[in-house]
């Protein structure tokens, strides 16, 4: 994608072959370039994890900080420099586990920043431990028995917290990913996009792509009205598949 090359730098990512995060990086480059942003007006803040290496592969400003703390750092920066586009790119462990408290309070403070969670349902960097989004019953490589705890549903969580923009994308569906990223970036408050971004090495092998393609359903094709919080709640209570698209927008 030639337009995206403005945003992408020459560094070779450390990610494994087949990692979903490649698609996220591509999608982000396309989305930002498509919005006509100068890379120097964009700051990517991440935590620690495979996913959090993303800022270093771009020509934007970046800060690969510490595990779980990307949101408060990004908020402090945005308050100091409102003219910058501040985007958090982080992992599911980063955001829903070690940094979970910051998620709730970021929603409350509602700074106009964007959160992209690269949700692979596993701790990639530390080699395959369960994450808060790993479904119960999953047998992890490193564990003696299947996951006992129930998993967090990021969409329900964000809806209950009262987040103003809640969406989900699937990393391999580039066109839709780019569209949703752009909507999230343009949203005037705190916006949340959960990106299903597989880790074939530690969760489900390459077969997970096929599985996700089969089980995702597009909310907007299904006629879901994102302005209606009750419809969002109903849909989450009885999902037809894994929803992709804008669940809720205030």
């Amino acid at each position: 994608m030639s337009t995206a090359s403005l945003f992408r730098n020459a560094t070779e990512p450390v990610w494994c072959d087949g990692c979903g995060d490649f698609h996220v990086l591509d999608g982000l480059c396309t989305a930002i370039t498509g919005l006509g942003r100068d890379p120097r007006e964009v700051v990517l803040i991440s935590g620690i994890g495979c996913s959090s290496r993303l800022p270093g592969y771009t020509n934007a400003h970046g800060f690969n900080s510490i595990h779980g703390r990307a949101l408060p750092i990004a908020t402090g920066l945005k308050l100091a420099r409102p003219e910058l586009d501040v985007i958090v790119t982080a992992g599911d462990g980063d955001i829903f586990s070690i940094g979970a408290a910051h998620l709730m309070h970021s929603v409350r403070r509602n700074p106009p920043i964007t959160l992209f969670v690269m949700d692979n349902g596993v701790y990639g960097l530390t080699k395959g431990q369960q994450s808060p989004t790993t479904p119960a019953g999953t047998q992890m490589r490193t564990a003696a028995q299947p996951v006992q705890e129930s998993s967090v549903n990021p969409l329900s969580l964000m809806l209950s917290l009262g987040c103003g923009f809640i969406a989900q994308a699937y990393s391999a569906d580039q066109a839709r990913l780019v569209e949703l990223m752009q909507q999230a970036i343009e949203y005037p408050g705190f916006s949340f996009l959960n990106i299903l971004s597989p880790c074939p090495v530690f969760r489900g092998g390459m077969g997970i792509y096929k599985e996700l393609r089969r089980s995702t359903t597009d909310l907007q094709q299904d006629g879901h009205d994102p302005q209606d919080p009750r419809a969002a709640a109903t849909l989450l209570a009885d999902p037809a598949g894994i929803p992709v698209g804008v669940l809720y927008r205030r």
Binding site: V43, P55, G62, G76, R81
Partner: protein, 573 residues
């Protein structure tokens, strides 16, 4: 102005429960004395509960500058005897002290811990009854006491009525009248009492323009004057007043103040604002400091300015949240993983809280490194007297921290991973070593910029070395030693990292014997200096845990018992 018989100083203690208005009563007394040109120091010592517990104010009014409260009380005002017991370790009552208390109290003075040897006047009056009758509220007991004391001692009448009047402006007409009536009732209740000798008030020779301020207020004001326009914090005793002050002031200056969800977020918000070029700080106490340590290490690794204030209290864990201690030196110096150099400053007294806050912002910006500023409950909440012009008040536009800020045409890539100068991750041992050197060099740029406070003889038989709030008592011990014919000197180290080893060593080499004074159990400064410098052969560590301010008598006893100063003459006879 000064009458020939004016004593050098007077010390007053007030005890009561939370909500009794102990601190307000203390402030009114202190402010009126200061308005009369006297120096005043006021400790606020609270019971272990942060709210609703016992509280006490300890004032020392003096013709000369004072930086701590006195060892013994000349006057004790008691709202409730039961509360005195909580402060028996803090308040030492002179044998001839004047005591004013309530006649309606169920606890007897002896049960509350009034020493048997006390032989001064004990004047009791129906505080509650007078408060209800004239002040229309039990709450006005402090005003009755104020009236009783001020009438009896003729307490700076002009200044007291001016101070009272200013204070009463906050109240509505009715409460104003009630309060003033309670003051008058107290005054009348003891009018004409002449049955014994009373303490005499010190009076000033000149009337310098003086003001009272706490270390927390001074620190916050200096931060604003240094261009701080962002603060994030999480409430914690005894640092909360900084957050509250900044919260009141920052919005009007175009700044931002955030109460974060926890201290980790507070540190990260502060770091993020600094990354954007805005001068920022966070303030906390020990437990919060522990939570911030990962972010402090990140600032060091990424080369970002970060100012963190630690107002120390008794630890470990929740400890005694309301009481003073100096036991976070190790945490400030070393509290992070890896080799994590940082600049560590420690304020020696209230005005120093302001001076070092100013330095902290300058150094963080110049060195691109974390700066930890240590304060202590005693300095933070206690009030000291300063020249009227001594309070920083500049609110010029902030210069910011532009040097490393994000968002210019030059791409900034930062990371907590070991990295090259473009922020690209590295993992070879040689670069790691080279970068460790670089991080230390950033901090070392601060070397020598905050000199130690040095007093007394340079070449001394006895050298006193201290840090932080042990400064004031050490200075008095210095004067005591000199008065007993010992050549003594002292040094108070204010920049603990980077340590100006050469300067401190040069001073140490001229001391025949050395006493290191600090308020912690383990001797943290002693161990730190011993690991880095050559201490004199005769070196002693005078240390104890916190929980109460130093008394001069503690230092005296130590110095006498170790043969470092002779006993007082009268003690010999």
């Amino acid at each position: 102005m000064s009458s020939p018989g004016s004593p050098p100083e007077l010390s007053i203690g007030i005890v009561g429960s939370g909500g009794d208005g102990v601190v307000l009563l203390g402030e009114l007394l202190a402010q009126s004395a200061v308005a009369a040109g006297l120096y005043c120091y006021m400790d606020k010592v609270f019971g272990p509960q942060i709210r609703g517990g016992e509280s006490s104010a300890i004032l020392r009014i003096s013709r000369e500058e004072v930086l701590r409260s006195a060892d013994e009380l000349d006057v004790l005002l008691v709202l409730q005897w039961a509360d005195l017991a909580r402060f028996s370790d803090v308040l030492s009552i002179a044998g001839n002290a004047l005591i004013i208390c309530s006649s309606e109290d169920e606890t007897s003075p002896a049960d509350a811990g009034l020493p048997a040897g006390h032989h001064g006047p004990v004047l009791s009056l129906p505080l509650k009854q007078l408060a209800l009758e004239h002040g229309r509220s039990k709450q006005a007991r402090n005003m009755v006491l104020l009236g009783a004391l001020s009438g009896l001692l003729d307490w700076y009448p002009e200044q007291l009525s001016a101070v009272l009047e200013r204070r009463m402006q906050r109240y509505d007409e009715r409460s104003r009248e009630n309060n003033l009536a309670a003051v008058a009732a107290g005054r009348d209740a003891l009018a004409g009492w002449q049955e014994g000798p009373l303490p005499v008030l010190p009076t000033a020779d000149a009337a310098p323009e003086l003001v009272l301020a706490s270390g927390n207020e001074l620190l916050a004001r200096a931060a604003l004057a240094s261009g701080c326009r962002f603060m994030a914090g999480y409430p914690i005793t005894p640092a909360s007043e900084i957050l509250e002050y900044m919260n009141r002031r920052l919005p009007a200056l175009g700044g931002t103040c955030i109460q974060a969800e926890d201290e980790i977020a507070a540190a990260c918000l502060t770091l993020g604002a600094g990354l954007g070029g805005v001068r920022s700080m966070s303030a906390t106490s020990g437990p919060g400091m522990t939570l911030k340590s990962e972010t402090i290490a990140l600032a060091g690794m990424a080369g970002l300015p970060l100012v963190v204030v630690d107002v120390q209290r008794c630890g470990p864990s929740t400890g005694i949240p309301t009481r003073t201690e100096q036991a976070d030196l190790n945490l400030a110096l070393h509290g992070a993983h890896g080799d994590s150099p940082r600049i560590v400053l420690a304020a020696a007294h209230q005005a120093d809280c302001a001076e070092l806050a100013t330095q902290a912002f300058e150094l963080a910006g110049r060195c691109h490194a974390p700066v930890i500023l240590l304060s202590e409950q005693q300095l933070a909440q206690g009030l000291a007297t300063l020249p009227a012009g001594g309070i920083p008040d500049n609110t010029e536009p902030s210069p910011g921290w532009p040097e490393r800020s994000i968002g210019s045409a030059v791409q900034v890539q930062l990371t907590g991973l070991e990295h090259d100068d473009k922020g690209r991750p590295l993992s070879d041992a040689a670069s790691h070593e080279a970068n460790a050197l670089l991080r230390q060099a950033r901090v070392d740029k601060a070397l020598g910029s905050v000199p130690a406070l040095q007093h007394g003889a340079l070449e001394a038989e006895l050298g006193l070395l201290c840090w932080g709030g042990s400064y004031s008592v050490s200075r008095e011990a210095l004067a005591l030693a000199a008065a007993r014919g010992v050549t003594a000197g002292m040094l108070c180290i204010r920049m603990l990292s980077p340590l100006d080893g050469d300067a401190v060593q040069a001073w140490l080499d001229r001391q025949q014997s050395l006493v290191i004074v600090e308020m912690n159990h383990s001797g943290q400064l002693h161990d730190y200096l011993r690991s880095r410098l050559d201490l004199p052969e005769i070196t002693m560590s005078l240390r104890r845990s916190g929980g109460r301010p130093w008394r001069l008598a503690e230092l005296e006893e130590f110095l006498v018992s170790h043969g470092l100063i002779p006993q007082a003459l009268e003690a010999r006879s």
